[in-house]
Structures are given as C-alpha cells and as structure tokens.
Symmetry: C2
Subunit: 238 residues, 2 copies
C-alpha cells in the first residue's frame, strides 16, 4: 500500500515536471472537490484554456509561505478585517472560516501582469501566472524588500488571477488544495507555486470523486487523493 501511494505521487511529480495537469481530490468530509493542477512555471495559454474548459471553477495561483513573507502578501480576509473600521459593511460578512475548514480562506489579492491588456484572456492569464511563478522563484533568492518592489514593478492589482496564500508548514497546518498542490510542486523540485481550478459536473455540483477518476483514466492523467500527498510529504520533509 505504501508503495502504491509512493508510486502515484511519483507519477504526479513526473507529470508536473513535464508541465502536464494532474487531478487532486482533497478528502471525504472536506470540500470533496477535485482540482486540476499545473505547475505555475509551465502555465501557457493552452493550459489556461484547459483549466477553464475541462475544470470550470476559479483559476487561482498558489503562493508558498516563504514567498508570501518576502512579498508581504496579506490574506484577503485580513485586509477586509482591517478595513472594517472605515467600511462597516466589512465587519459582519468577514469570513474567518468556511463550513468545511476551521482555517481562514487562502485568498490573497488578485493580480494582472502589467504587460496584459484586459487581463482575462488565456494569453493574459498565462503571462500573469508564468511571470508570477518566476517572481516566486526569484523572491527566495533575494534579500528582504526586493520581492515587494518587484511585485509592484511587474503586476497590477486588482486583476484577474486570484492568489492563494498557502498555510505555513503546508499540509501539516491545512489540507486544502492550495497546500496539497504546493507540496507536490515543492517535492517535484519546481518553483513552489501551482495553478489550480475546481472540476465541475454538468448537474450543478462539483465533479464526484468517481467521475473525476474516470475522467483521469480517459485522459491518461494522474489522479491523487490528499492523503497520498500528506504521507509523501511526511516522508519527504521528515
């Protein structure tokens, strides 16, 4: 069993290194959603089109906590909380927790690369994501202060790509798609950012785990569950 998990995670890591999408179901009793995930550094306009047509949810890009700290990127829920004194409407609807998770939503700000036009086309979102991935990679190699300046030089906000701040310690702290996919690209030795999108069904609900597995088989994609990643991460980081 342990070997099977290792083999599945290894296949996912190899697919991510080739720039291919993988499918990741979080867990029964949690969101119970399957996200399609691609390493952000390899995101192309074709990849964005695949995510929006084959998955259908929101296309978001994850930020590992080390890069988040270098960039000083706040959580959106934190910004809304701080803004409540000036904007009373923000006091009450502030989300501190989703129904399935005691930890706050990973949403951070939304961005567009400054060389985009409207920001929403496949070309524009691919440029935003791939250049942001480069910045994540570089942020970790520079002094503090550099990443804050670089983000502002290259990107605008608000934009059309929501950033997702991964929890400190990744899956040790939170087991959402944000942390699970960021752990996978980290173990793959890639720039530690994934671009992810929830898979929808035609009946108004999320694609079921069984249908996601079938889709993965039909398309020859790797399908994983959160627990597989958590076990691999424990072995890798321990």
């Amino acid at each position: 069993m342990q070997e099977t998990v290792t083999a599945a995670v290894q296949r996912a890591i190899e697919a991510l290194r080739r720039g291919e999408p993988i499918l990741l179901y979080d867990a029964d009793g949690r969101e119970e959603e399957t996200d399609m995930a691609i390493a952000s550094e390899f995101v192309t306009p074709d990849a964005i089109r695949t995510l929006r047509k084959e998955a259908g949810g929101l296309i978001c890009t994850t930020v590992p906590s080390e890069a988040r700290d270098r960039m000083g990127l706040p959580f959106l829920s934190q910004l809304l909380g701080e803004a409540a004194a000036l904007h009373p409407v923000l006091a009450r609807p502030l989300a501190t927790a989703a129904p399935y998770d005691p930890v706050a939503s990973p949403f951070s700000i939304t961005i567009n690369h400054r060389d985009t036009r409207t920001g929403v086309t496949d070309r524009d979102r691919a440029l935003t994501v791939s250049r942001f991935a480069q910045l994540v990679g570089e942020a970790l190699r520079h002094e503090n202060g550099w990443a804050i300046e670089a983000l502002g030089r290259e990107f605008r906000s608000p934009g059309h790509v929501p950033l997702l701040n991964a929890a400190d310690g990744l899956v040790a702290r939170r087991r959402g798609h944000t942390e699970l996919t960021t752990a996978l690209v980290t173990m793959a030795g890639l720039i530690p950012s994934a671009t992810i999108c929830e898979m929808m069904a035609d009946d108004g609900r999320a694609l079921s785990k069984e249908d996601a597995k079938e889709y993965a088989e039909a398309k020859n994609l790797v399908f994983l569950e959160g627990q597989d990643v958590i076990e691999a991460w424990r072995a890798w980081s321990g």
Copy 2:
C-alpha cells in the same frame, strides 16, 4: 438606423426579461471584448454553467451605484490603497487604471452566500448571485443601514463571486460592460444587476466581434454594441 438600434435594444430587453443571455461587445478601441450577460435575478445553476462553458472569462455580478451606496460597498482598489500603510506591497501595484480605461477597475469584494458549501459550484454561485440580486432590489426599498446589516447576515467574504461596482450615472460616466449591462437591466425594469462573463476564443485571445456575432446568430441570441446601449440610455434617461 435609429429604429434599428432601438429594435436591437428592445430585443435585448425582452431576452433579459425572459432570463436569457445576451451578448454585448463594448467598443472598438476599448476592451474589444464581448460579454455574455444575464439578469442576476434569473441566474440559475444552468445559467452559471452556460457562462463558464460558453463564455469562459470571470463570472461577475454588477452592483448599481444606488445599492452600492446603501451597502457601503467599497471598490477593491480603494481598499488596497487604504491598506498600503499597513502592507507596503500594496502601495506600488495598486491599479488606478487599466490600459484601455482612465477610470478605476469596478472590482469590489468577492462574496459567497452563507448557505453555500464550497461556493464555487454552479449551484453555489447561482444561489449567491440570485440572492444578492434580491438584496439589491430590497436595498433600494429600505432605510440606510438595513442593507449593510442584510449583506453581512446573508453573505461571507472573501467568496467566489466578484462584485463589480457600476460607476455613478452608469454609461454617462464609464462605458464598460459593468455599466452597459446594468443600464440594460435597468431599462428592462428588472432588478438593476447583471451577471456577466467575457467570451474567449480558442486561440488565447478574446472572441473577435465577428465571431461573437456569428455565435449569436447560430444560438439565436441578441448581439449588441455598447453604442446601441448608450443611445438607448440617453433617450430613456433623458
């Protein structure tokens, strides 16, 4: 010519009243994008699926300025600007203008209805949008203060439906899809909120005006240009 414009706008108004999508191209030299638009009060899970599959951009819901004022809903760019003192990263990337428009981005906060689960499924987004539309309708019939309380009672933020704040005076002030579609549902006598999504092509770009027209003919949908709405609005509001 004037009659043709009036007839096209009239057909769009009738389609919106039936809960059907219409297609709206803004203008040459502006975004040059066609949005699919539906009156928010009629948004169903099927409508969300149509928007994500047939259009492919971001699915957003517009807020007329009267309701925005009642709810005290800030522009996201304003929130980011105010937060820059606490979060230096927000000082530089703050977007005050897009390349095609001197007026700030209409993005406001993102919301989920409190009865949603993950917030992103077609059912969840349809619940969020249709209940938000009801709130817009009711906000205009209540005293100040009611709408701020009602928004917090019914919705969480951050969520999966971005709100778009329409400019004061609608198309007299800004001629984006936000204002154009809100003007259309207003002229239709519906709750003045539209749910809109940019139409994408398979080549990485936005769907061209010509291809959007062809799509509209094939699907028997109304296609309009921004100028048609601006002229109709002038006659209607003058």
